[in-house]
């Protein structure tokens, strides 16, 4: 096999580096560099405050409400994503926090999903949260369940669960597609407090209308640091702001340049 690979390398005249992707490589290196510096540089990690994010502040309220009403919490990651997607990872981070609180307050947490890989990871995440709270005996594997890979099969299953269980709080955090409004409206009909967040800008508009709190854009990705208070993660959130500042400056330069030299093209990369 290594010999075959070597023959292939010698035989094909294609260069190893695709020069067309050079701007992307430069941008990626700068972005990764900023994240690493912000995370590991001691002075950059000095304590700083994140602004209040209403959707994340409401997580405690949602769990408390479910506990007081003795009704379950329902958490679902949407049909659009798989475990390779950063949004799903961000959702897992919030799930870990919610599961720890649910364990502490002895509140049932139901997690239906469309993807068996997400189900396996979610089972581990929730189980670990229960173990870390010292309440492993309260963990019920059956509450983290695979329902269907079909989009509307999954939507119907979650809708049915919401109607029958009448959860006090619903978390719709992940990648959603057309099923978003079906779930959010059903949750609204049963009177649940709903916290939603997705990377799909089309579905965001549905969530803003139908849910009590919506995490917009990078708020979903900042949740991990916000909820855990981990300084390394918070530092990487700060790196995001630095990159946003660079993008704003570049956009401003490009706008001015394009206004005075409309025929120039360098800023189009």
């Amino acid at each position: 096999m290594p010999l075959l690979v070597l023959v292939n390398i010698i035989a094909t005249g294609t260069p190893w580096f695709d020069t067309g992707k050079l701007p992307i490589l430069i941008a990626a290196i700068i972005a990764i560099g900023i994240v690493l510096i912000a995370t590991y540089h001691r002075r950059s990690r000095e304590r700083f405050q994140l602004r209040k994010i209403a959707g994340l502040e409401a997580v405690e309220e949602a769990i408390g409400r479910a506990t007081e009403m003795a009704r379950p919490l329902l958490y679902t990651p949407g049909w659009g994503g798989d475990i390779q997607r950063p949004t799903t990872i961000a959702s897992m981070n919030i799930l870990s926090h919610v599961a720890a609180r649910a364990a502490r307050y002895d509140c049932q947490l139901v997690y239906p999903t469309h993807d068996p890989v997400i189900m396996s990871v979610a089972q581990e995440v929730v189980k670990e949260s229960y173990v870390q709270e010292g309440l492993a005996d309260r963990f019920n594997e059956d509450n983290i369940r695979y329902v269907s890979s079909s989009q509307f099969g999954y939507a119907a299953a979650v809708e049915g669960l919401i109607t029958r269980l009448e959860p006090a709080s619903i978390f719709l955090l992940g990648t959603f597609e057309a099923e978003s409004l079906i779930m959010a409206e059903t949750g609204n009909f049963v009177g649940a407090i709903q916290i939603a967040g997705t990377d799909s800008t089309i579905q965001l508009s549905f969530f803003i209308v139908a849910c009590d709190y919506t995490l917009i854009g990078e708020e979903l990705f900042a949740a991990s640091g916000y909820l855990s208070g981990d300084q390394s993660i918070l530092a990487s959130v700060r790196a995001q702001d630095m990159m946003k500042l660079i993008i704003m400056v570049l956009l401003l330069i490009a706008v001015i340049w394009a206004s005075f030299a409309p025929d120039s093209t360098w800023w189009r990369f």
């Binding site: 695709d18 950063p86 068996p116 057309a178 139908a210």
Partner: protein
């Protein structure tokens, strides 16, 4: 050790896929496709077995307890019948599997999808009540869009469709792009955190 090895594998494969993205060389393309497609399918196939077993177990326990018996029986009949039909008569057009798929599963999916029309109406009714300045702007933009997209828009005033197009392509698109930039940066930092091992929640926790 239980977490260190998966973390190392994750970091290594993340680096390989990242480097392969910047190459058009057949060997790099081949590695990229092997990692992102072949390996992924193997993992998915194994976890699908776990998922199917979990599905059957959850429903059998529910039937035992007498919870939502009719729904659970219908689910289990579907899960057992479809693979049997496929194994016995195959998946070709006109086979019993395709008949069930086209005449039962597709209409059921369409029914759930059709619910969206009612949900859009009820959500719009709540969302478009002008309770605040922001809600009033939302209502105004929505009305403009509705009128512009219907035939009376052009009849009322020829500039209405132009105004709606401007709302769609200028303020709405700039807000959407700002959100997309935030999502892109959030995805990037989350990915870097996972690859360098700061973010370990996906492994089941911190310790």
């Amino acid at each position: 050790m239980r977490r260190r090895i998966p973390q190392l594998i994750c970091g290594l494969f993340g680096l390989v896929v990242f480097l392969c993205y910047f190459s058009s060389h057949p060997t790099a393309r081949s590695i990229y496709l092997t990692v992102t497609l072949d390996y992924w399918q193997i993992i998915f196939a194994f976890t699908l077995i776990v998922g199917a077993i979990s599905f059957v177990r959850v429903n059998l326990r529910g039937i035992e307890r007498g919870e939502d018996r009719s729904y659970r029986i219908a689910s289990l009949v579907g899960v057992i019948t479809m693979p049997l039909l496929a194994l016995i008569w195959g998946l070709k057009g006109g086979s019993p599997f395709m008949w069930v798929f086209e005449n039962i599963q597709v209409p059921m999916q369409s029914t759930v999808f059709a619910l969206l029309a009612f949900f859009v109406a009820s959500a719009s009714y709540r969302g478009f009540r002008a309770r605040s300045m922001q809600a009033a702007i939302l209502l105004g933009a929505a009305l403009l869009m509705l009128i512009a997209r219907s035939t009376i828009g052009d009849m009322l005033w020829a500039r209405i469709p132009e105004a709606a197009e401007w709302v769609r392509t200028t303020p709405a698109m700039s807000a959407r792009r700002a959100i997309l930039i935030g999502i892109g940066l959030g995805s990037l930092t989350t990915s870097v955190r996972v690859l360098i091992g700061i973010e370990r929640t996906w492994l089941g926790g911190e310790k």
